[in-house]
Symmetry: C2
């Protein structure tokens, strides 16, 4: 039985209102936990401690939720194939997080220590590999052409997106188009595949599945725009992520890219030299983002993606998944507005 | 057309006599290179340079060779399915090498710079992931139960073996049994799966495939015993690997484990303190291994594995693969004897 401190801990990592959204797939999310626990004996004894740690320090399980929403029929019955698909995608996601933390030398995620901090980069690299291999072992149970291959291809695209972002480190002249191409690969791809394959496993027609997939991609883009803004304006205690990780590691994301374009040559040079010398005044940076109209531009980008996501659902409103997916966009929008309210001060 | 220096370079990484062995699968190995080149457009543009680099700085392609040998029928015709299987296993192997080099912070492999040294650990982690994902995309074309799943399971076992070895770093009391359990997972597993699945894709009966698999496992163990001895007694210029990487990173392998058991408490303590302080006199260590009968013990272990490998073939002598596999053991044995001759002085 969970203790009060367990519950508090789990609540602190889930934003308010999220329980309601997730509630629509409560039984499935529970089945996912059971499924993960049942997988444990399949990991070699040397791995189990680390695997358990990773699965316990879970985030919001957004991708599984999308799988469940897109694959659901009216009945509340738990579909084992959907649970397996959700587990597969979540394991790929966890593997990339573990490797991200190695590469970023990050010590915190979701407010708790990363495996990288606890066990060192060597174990973390290998654990990521094991999670990845296990994910693909699970994937092998699905039809090769319609599920398994799209999944492995998506995994590769996520890596390629990360490689691209890495090779662009320090490039403050990245275009907005390149920024979106990168987040399409590194983030939106798994959202996309969660929805597309969720629909397929759920037995929906291919045109609906494609629409779900596009919905996922747009939601993923919106989510990353939000995350990148949060990385600049957020605070460590609230987000459970080391503050400004991106800039520290030379990753220029939408807020800084837009700001640099908006500044006068002199101010641009001053900011670039601050960044280069690791002396960014985060408060001044936040102020500049507000004062130069960057925040509003980002709000536009964010809303554009969410509205595109909603539009893809319009032709499939009669299908069961549409309602839950619609609620998901409302939730993300509400979270973002709340964040903005705080940040606009 | 290759230049003289190209040929010299390629010869320096292939031991004498190896061409003859590999010659029996010449057409297949060529088809494998063609296959790899044809895969390149499937990698995202951001990855291609690194992937090409990894594929060019190839080792001896031992695992593909085992696939070709075990899957071959009398005809010299190239079997596309075997080529695909060989590529899949080689990509898993390359992925683990790339990650190994990150974890060991190794700068050299096969006498040339590692990707880790050239592009940094971040790219190397991600490239390993991409190679892995691509391997499993290729695997998805095979039958799920008989090929794809055993492959993903093997990949996970390789990682688990590495994790185990890592968690045992600094443990100079590792037993010989534990040492063998670790090398079974981290090395012999891919040799095993190359032979087992090669036989299956080649259409051999399951009892023969199992024998091939056991052959591979034994050959893999012998190979790792040789490699670990070489890591202690070898020289950088001859092996293309940083000297004594294992001891430097706290990995106790068969030679040091046996030596520590054989030494008097006083001498043991002295050696342990040298290792701990990174002040091992490699010449003195080599001499101690010779003088305390450790070299002969290792020779025994090596021969025992090779002879077990040969024995598994005995019941299948009438099958086409037996001859080439037999030659492979002869070659590895001859290489080892040549190495010993040099090392015995």
């Amino acid at each position: 039985m969970p203790t009060v401190s367990d519950i508090r801990k789990s609540l602190s990592s889930t934003p308010p209102g999220f329980e309601e959204i997730a509630g629509a797939a409560k039984a499935q999310l529970k089945a996912l936990d059971v499924f993960f626990t049942a997988q444990m004996p399949q990991f070699e004894p040397q791995m189990r401690k680390s695997v358990t740690y990773c699965l316990k320090n879970r985030g919001k399980r957004l991708r599984p939720l999308l799988v469940f929403f897109c694959g659901a029929k009216k009945s509340a019955k738990v579909d084992e194939a959907l649970v397996r698909l959700a587990a597969t995608i979540e394991l790929v996601h966890l593997a990339t997080l573990v490797h991200d933390d190695v590469m970023d030398e990050a010590d915190l995620r979701h407010g708790t220590s990363t495996l990288n901090a606890l066990s060192g980069p060597t174990i973390a690299v290998l654990l990521g590999d094991s999670l990845f291999a296990h994910a693909l072992e699970l994937a092998a149970d699905f039809d090769s052409e319609s599920i398994c291959k799209p999944l492995t291809r998506a995994a590769r695209r996520v890596c390629a997106g990360e490689v691209w972002q890495t090779t662009e480190r320090g490039n403050h002249e990245l275009s907005v188009k390149q920024y979106f191409d990168i987040i399409d690969m590194k983030t939106a791809e798994l959202f996309h595949i969660s929805c597309l394959l969720g629909g397929r496993v759920g037995g929906y027609k291919e045109d609906a599945c494609q629409a779900f997939g596009e919905f996922g991609r747009r939601l993923g883009r919106a989510y990353q725009i939000y995350d990148d803004l949060d990385d600049i304006l957020g605070k460590e205690s609230a987000v459970g992520k080391t503050l400004g990780t991106d800039l520290l590691s030379g990753k220029y994301t939408l807020p800084t890219l837009l700001l640099l374009k908006a500044l006068s040559p002199k101010k641009r040079q001053a900011l670039l030299s601050q960044i280069k010398n690791n002396r960014v005044d985060t408060k001044a940076l936040g102020a500049a983002i507000r004062e130069n109209g960057i925040l509003e531009k980002i709000v536009d980008y964010f809303r554009r993606e969410l509205s595109a996501a909603r539009k893809t659902l319009a032709a499939h409103e009669q299908l069961f998944p549409a309602e839950n997916l619609g609620k998901m966009t409302d939730f993300v929008a509400a979270q973002f507005e709340k964040f903005l309210e705080k940040k606009r001060g």
